[in-house]
């Protein structure tokens, strides 16, 4: 089946204006008749909830954290891109659009990305009006910094806590609506199923995480803004609670899951220190401006880094990519670190680490200058590792950071299930096979503040069916299924903990479907995952009650979904016989080891349809048609 993207016709730069001119509207008096269920309260969910409520819709918003302010968008450090051209350095909407398409290795949808670049400028204005304390220059105007994959300075930031400040802006807008009674907020509430009535998304089943009560909510549309699936790898920079459950349940109800194999590995994270480790911490990419990456030239060199003379060091990024050097893009820098460690040259516990050395920069600029630039990062590094990076090089290693894949959506951000909208990291649409730095915040807020409020009106104006009663049989069935699953998880009384299973699954997926993938490894993973899943359902040990706060039970449900989702991830990676962006298949590389795309055969979105646990999902293709952009091979040499 070929999917219809519903991108408006006409010149690229006019598509969104044309859409807005031609879309149908809902008059103010009628808006209050519609109820929207929004799952997730990060940048995308909170901005959508606030904006729809401001417009007059009735909104219910759900999050599993104790407050909407804690969603994982809060952890984003670096910044948010916008095509303001405040620097007078040649930026434009087209350039931001083009950088994003190219950064995504020509695997994103042109129309969506152009719209993203168009509304980026409105996001900054909106956030400033809300009181987001962006960094400023002495003249009082907004400051910018540069980020990877761009030759202009277009990243707005608030110290190293841009995600926090943008999320608090959206949270405050949402709080205002909660105070006004237009949004009903459900914190500590987890969505456990999507309910379809006559093929349309009309409700959800949720669990109150404090009382354990299962209940249904009906609405005219369901919006999923539930983030990415990076925790399928167990260790990632994601928060502990991040999960695939909401999107995966929607997938099981018929929504297509697109490009799950596009996962982003960030090159500069603090390495794993032992089996106890529960998460990995990102160190900002900006460190690579002054740090030099190296490993010893010979395997098994146990000397302290400061005792290894220059001649015995391999500054491999500078050697392989002389023009970009230590600032090679994320996917390339990550793979090079892996290669060095695979060759036995890695440093630190387990040999999975490379040095990021500031000694040259300290000699050149002085320790004070380095402290001024990166002091907070050096402190964070010391807090976690106990090592002083002014005196010895940092040890870094790549870690899972972001997932570009997600539920398939059309230009309206609506999935193939009518009435089911998907925003932010949870959808697949804007980043192709690789996301550029400072673009995730942009997309989350674009979707919630400036896209969904238009497209959902267009949808409501052309639908007849209204909010169903939760007495409908579809709700009762879904509730019973959810309850039965919880009962099952609590009744197994096996010998292994949920964490233990999650760790094993994560290691398998990381080893076989991580930074580099190949046919044999993926097939091995696909053979082992079902067996592990089977063991999970026979041997997991989840204690406690269903009718109480039970963190182990919550986690068990999420890991159970990862056990199925991991198979889809590997299957997609196996089927995509090319390398692009974050998806690197060892069989498909250029002579010098770079990713080799196959535009002839794989220039499409792979949108998978569910067909039962253990059954092969159905592949649907949306061809990627580039009307304005010419596809090229990326080069950073």
């Amino acid at each position: 089946m070929t999917l219809e993207s519903n991108v408006p016709s006409g010149p690229l730069a006019h598509k969104w204006s044309k859409y807005k001119q031609e879309q149908k509207l809902v008059n103010p008096a009628n808006k209050r008749k519609f109820e929207v269920l929004i799952v997730g309260s990060g940048l995308a969910g909170a901005s959508a909830a606030a904006t729809l409520a401001e417009l007059g819709y009735n909104v219910k918003c759900f999050c599993f954290q104790d407050s909407p302010r804690r969603a994982h968008s809060i952890a984003a450090q670096g910044g948010i891109n916008a095509a303001k051209n405040y620097r007078n350095d040649g930026d434009s909407i087209y350039r931001l659009f083009y950088d994003t398409i190219k950064g995504g290795d020509f695997r994103a949808r042109e129309g969506n990305v152009h719209r993203l670049a168009e509304v980026s400028v409105n996001i900054i204005d909106q956030c400033v009006a809300q009181g987001v304390p962006f960094a400023r220059e002495y003249g009082g105007l907004l400051d910018n910094r540069s980020f990877g994959g761009a030759q202009v300075s277009r990243t707005f930031y608030a110290r190293g806590q841009t995600g926090q400040q943008l999320l608090l802006g959206a949270y405050q807008a949402l709080s205002r609506q909660i105070g006004l009674g237009t949004v009903k907020m459900y914190p500590r509430t987890e969505m456990l199923d999507l309910v379809l009535i006559n093929g349309e998304a009309k409700g959800i089943v949720v669990r109150d995480l404090i009382t354990g009560a299962i209940s249904s909510h009906g609405g005219d549309a369901v919006v999923l803004a539930t983030g990415g699936y990076g925790n399928v790898f167990y260790l990632s920079t994601n928060a502990q609670g991040c999960n695939v459950t909401a999107t995966y349940r929607a997938y099981k109800k018929g929504a297509y899951f697109a490009n799950p194999c596009y996962t982003q590995i960030h090159p500069t994270c603090i390495p794993v220190s032992g089996d106890h480790q529960s998460k990995l911490t990102l160190m900002s990419e900006s460190l690579r401006n002054d740090g030099r990456v190296w490993v010893p030239k010979t395997a098994g060199d146990t000397r302290l880094p400061q005792d290894i003379p220059e001649g015995d060091r391999d500054y491999y990024l500078e050697r392989k990519y002389p023009s970009y050097g230590n600032l090679a893009p994320r996917d390339i820098a990550s793979r090079a670190a892996k290669e060095a460690c695979d060759n036995g040259l890695g440093v630190g516990p387990g040999g999975r680490g490379v040095y990021l050395d500031f000694s040259d920069a300290i000699k050149r600029l002085g320790e004070d200058k380095i402290r001024e630039r990166y002091g907070n990062l050096f402190e964070m590094y010391e807090r976690i590792t106990g090592e002083n990076a002014y005196q010895r090089p940092m040890r870094i290693y790549p870690a899972v950071h972001y997932t570009m894949g997600g539920l398939w959506v059309d230009y309206n951000l609506m999935s193939n299930i009518p009435g089911l909208f998907v925003l932010g990291e949870a959808n697949f649409s804007d980043h192709g096979a690789n996301r550029l730095g400072a673009s995730a915040l942009m997309q989350g807020l674009a979707d919630g503040y400036f896209v969904l409020p238009y497209t959902i009106a267009n949808h409501f104006a052309s639908t007849k069916q209204h909010k169903p009663s939760t007495d409908a049989a579809e709700f009762k069935e879904a509730e019973q299924e959810v309850e039965a699953r919880i009962k099952k998880l609590l009744s197994i009384n096996g010998k292994r903990t949920v964490n233990d299973f999650h760790r094993e699954l994560g290691k398998l997926v990381w080893d076989k479907c991580g930074m580099a993938r190949n046919d044999a490894g993926l097939k091995e993973a696909l053979a082992r995952i079902p067996a592990l899943r089977e063991e999970f359902w026979e041997n997991v040990n989840v204690l406690g009650d269903a009718e109480a706060l039970n963190p182990a039970l919550e986690r068990a449900g999420r890991v159970a979904d990862f056990m199925e989702f991991a198979e889809l991830l590997c299957l997609d990676a196996l089927h995509r016989k090319e390398s692009c962006g974050g998806h690197f298949r060892e069989e498909y590389q250029t002579e010098d080891g770079e990713a080799q795309r196959n535009d002839e055969e794989f220039s499409y979105v792979a949108a998978w349809g569910y067909s039962g646990v253990g059954n092969a999902p159905v592949l649907n293709k949306e061809p990627l048609v580039y009307e304005e952009v010419h596809m090229t091979q990326r080069s950073y040499k």
Partner: protein, 253 residues
């Protein structure tokens, strides 16, 4: 016993739910690596409890990088433990030594009732924001971001306050269970910026009224709140809150 691992005795507050009474229970934490975070140490204890068929210890946590504000814990009587400017998730076990006995409690404050074990209900903070901790601008129609120049010093000072992660350590540390530092951070952040001026009086009056209604105590200038604040938000913001509140109260009459 190598120098990289340690054995500890934990005294952990266990409480089945909001209705039942709680008590301290002792646990041994063995072979704890110095590289573990405090929460990873609790993960290890929980894995062992689960293997023994005992209910694991419930505690709040999410990002584990010191920014979401979900983790809490009063450790040996100090909110977020012994390190300054550090959340519990960023506290590592090398701050402890072999043989230590560590007492772990939930935030203790009436407006933060215990839900289970170490998990408390901090929704009072959300309700304080809901009555005024925002600038009332709806999406769309905002002027250009550079239309309103803001002195860098003001923007930086606003950011100092805006960094608050809403964890509630300030309340837990205060003998009066006062939420003044939390309220002061938001009132200060928005009050320092031109965007926050139109609602400045209304904001402070509503937020303080809600704070009182939630049952938080008053500030008696001890400073424990700033001492435990992971973001080191200073007492000067409380002075600012008091000034704003006084002025707004006078103007309201």
């Amino acid at each position: 016993m190598s120098e990289t691992t340690m054995n500890l005795t934990l005294r952990v507050w266990r409480q089945k739910n909001a209705q039942s009474a709680g008590t301290f229970v002792e646990y041994e934490a063995k072979n704890i690596s110095v590289d573990m975070s405090f929460l990873e140490m609790l993960d290890v204890v929980n894995e062992e409890l689960t293997a023994r068929g005992e209910d694991p210890i419930a505690f709040d946590h999410d990002c584990r990088e010191g920014i979401c504000g979900m983790c809490s814990l009063t450790i040996n009587g100090k909110a977020h433990g012994p390190l300054e400017a550090t959340t519990t998730c960023q506290l590592h076990m090398r701050s402890f030594k072999n043989g230590d006995a560590i007492t772990v409690e939930p935030w203790r404050a009436k407006p933060f009732p215990v839900i289970k074990d170490l998990v408390t209900d901090r929704s009072a903070f959300d309700r304080i924001i809901q009555v005024g901790g925002f600038v009332s601008v709806s999406t769309g129609g905002a002027p250009d971001g550079n239309a309103l120049p803001i002195p860098k010093t003001d923007a930086d000072a606003a950011m100092d306050a805006a960094q608050c992660i809403g964890c509630g350590a300030c309340v837990a540390a205060c003998k009066n269970a006062s939420a003044m530092l939390f309220v002061a951070a938001k009132v200060g952040h928005l009050g320092l910026l031109p965007q926050g001026q139109t609602e400045r009086d209304r904001r402070v009056l509503h937020m303080v009224a809600q704070m009182d209604e939630e049952g938080f105590g008053n500030c008696t200038n001890i400073g424990s709140c700033s001492a435990v604040c992971p973001k080191e938000i200073g007492q000067d913001f409380i002075s600012r809150l008091n000034r704003d509140f006084l002025k707004a109260s006078l103007r309201a009459k």
